[in-house]
Amino acid sequence: MKAPLYHQNEKNTLMKTILSILLILTSFFSIAQTTVSGIVTDTKGNPIEGTNVYLDGTYDGASTNAKGAFSFQTTENGTQTLVVSFISFETFRKTAKISALNDLKIKLREDVNTLDAVTINAGTFEAGDNAKVTALKPLDVVTTASALGDFVGALQTLPGTSTVAEDGRMFVRGGEANETQFFIDGIRVFTPYTPTTNNIPSRGRYSPFLFKGITFSTGGYSAEYGQALSSVILLNTIDEPIQEKTDLQFMTVGVGVGNTQMFGKNSLSVNASYINLAPYLELFPDRNTWKDPIQSLNGEAVYRFKFKDESLLKIYGAFSYTDFDLIQENINFSNGFRFGLENRNLYLNGSYKNNLGNGWKIATGLSFTNDHSNINIENDEVVDNENSAHIKVAVKKRFSNRFKLSFGGEYFITNFNEDFNNNSNGAFNYNFNNNLAASYVETDIFFSKKLASKIGVRAEYSELLDEFTISPRASLSYKTGESSQVSLAYGRFYQNPNNEFLKFYKDFTAPNTSHYIANYQYVKNKQIFRIEAYYKKYNDLVKFNTEMPLPTSVYSNLGSGFAKGVDVFWRDNKNIKNTDYWISYSYLDTERDYRNYPVKATPNFANTHNLSVVAKHFIKSWKSQVGFSYNFASGRNYTNPNKDINGFLNEQTKNYNSVSLNWAYLLSQQKILYFSVNNVLGTENVFGYNYKNTPNPNGMFERQAITPAADRFFFVGFFWTISDNKKDNQLNNL
């Protein structure tokens, strides 16, 4: 009995062993192998090699071969998600029973969000490092020789701008300076330029270092923006500072200091500067007689707070004070013409951005401006006070990469008050409230990577004019080749008349323009070429019947005009080593009948031909960057009564030429010495002529050329950054 028992025992053990082995084997074999296979192509059926095909959350997958085919074994079962991903295509997902994931034919859609997709760009130049096509790079604003660290000066090297050097503001495509509006983080800036007088160019009020990107639209812009007949300039402030630091600036014209502090989710940047031209004018006297040379005190602060949900609150405040008093030579005033100004300006801008999730984004903002000027003109004293505010809510919804919707509403408030005091005639007061409500809706549609469009409409209601306007906007872009595209844009734009009219008369309708734009762009390998043709029609411009707008003038909206032309831009950072250059050319043909024009004429702020050449060259062994810019503009119209006593804008000045140079020398990564000379050749440019009101005994009107206050301008500055981290450098201030 023993034996069988033993036997049985042995058998038992053997059984168990076999069972175990079987178990192990089944643990292998129960993992049945399934084949997942298929072919991946683009929408046209061309195979895509190298796509990553896998079952989500598993290790099982493969790459497609040259024929776009893939095949791999998997031990997974049940329902699985197959993922097909490849760079610059939208990721494909399919959830199905594993057995169904076989012999698949997968078409990947191109990702329209990539850099090589078509962009809607008619009329627009971008500056900054997250633009798709960057016309101006962040450093350009501060390293362009002629710009003198002013972002407005840098934008004037782009096509579509006229050279009105004695004014300094933006004159875009035959438009007046006030036809261009500025926005900071989508919120209107009511007084973007520093105050000045005849013949002394103004500058942009805001420091270029505050902005991470600038968009300059010369026409056909989005329905989000209104109250600009010609152009909008969008400035986006930096979302968060990178590190704590202190900047010091010592310049021939003044001093500046900046400091950035970060504490937790908060950050605060403060900048202050004091400019006084007295010492400079002592060394290099100009043509004016200064009673008080220009001095200005500017302070800016930005506070940012990042909430837990990544939403962002920014509060930006700027205060500036400027005063000067001077006597300018004037042919009609034997003792010269006196102009004194004291201006203070406060600007507050608060904005809040939040991602609501599910493709929804909201941005709200509020700005307030108080601008107060005390002006002395000969014997008149004028006190202007303007309070303006802008409230805006903008919502964006992304339905997919291919369809986006944006809409919003805004309200503008302007309250203007002027007290006018004349020694002999007494005192007058003029004031008005110019309030305006607007809303817009716009869609971005990508039909494919090659074809996209933006269609929008904007509605405005002006309380002052009691007028309701509708402005349609549309643009379309088509990619014609790997590196080229064509775009078309159309839009209608309304803008209420200027303060200079509204303070005397209110029964206007809003002047308006229609833009028609066609653009061709070629971008390849650090080279940009673009050419744009446009036609702009002006309607309902303000006319009046006196020498200057007066309370007694007769006003109407019977003015009209047009501007047409071609803008060409070429930038190349490739062909010449360590050299970056761009060339802008604008051709402009414009005429208008507005203000007190007796006939239709080309206004005196328009030049037919404008050319800018800007070049920068980095010399390593000198630790220097040298910059050059050349600006040419054909002559501008002026009225010559000697030619024809009834003539109007009947003659042209000689051409404008100016060569500027700059040199930035890096003492160390944190210290920079900067020199620049504007109009280094000292070309005597003439902007126009003032004629005497009365003829001399020979029946001739004597004249005086309008020229810059000084032919050349020199600038020397030393910039120093102090931070914990030695790597931060003055390149920012270069």
Partner: protein, 207 residues
Amino acid sequence: MKKVITFIVFVFTIQVSAQTQYDKGMNKAFELWGANKTTKASQLFERIANAEKENWLPPYYAATIEIIDAFKIKEEPKLIAKLTKAQKFLDAANSLSPNNPEILIRQALLNVAYMAFDGQKYGMSMSMKNAALYKKAFELAPENPRVILSKAESDMGAARFFGQSTKPFCKSIQKAIDLGKKEKIDIKYYPRFDVNRAEKVLKQCMK
């Protein structure tokens, strides 16, 4: 006895198969990378990252390969597409392991790829970002040889750009090498210090 063995074999098999999948995947990916099959290696890391949702290493390596590849790209659209992809991996790694010095210096390398492509365009913002990244990495791991080397290399790049001597940074590189030789790593597949490469960098620095 046999039962015990069987049992052990059985248990061991299960354990091996459980461990193998990650190890096999990682080893295979490193092998592909070593054989210069970077696309396949990166794709495998991407798949592992999708399977191992708690582990920051696979997305970290997927990003690393994409970033290194980006330095060879001459066309901006491709560069941005590639670095955007790398950024997604890094973001994934970062959310799994926040305040990780290894990920911070990888982010700095990604930013360098932008700067190397177009210094005029990207230099200003990226150099500031990197300064902040290195500051943070140093606070977290002042003795990490990779952090020290990466910062030294970045400083050398800036010094060369400004035509200055790289000598002041050689000491840091030597320090990184010394620390790197001593370093003991107990996490599998944790980034290692490449002494050979560091020595080459040191030689360039001395020049």
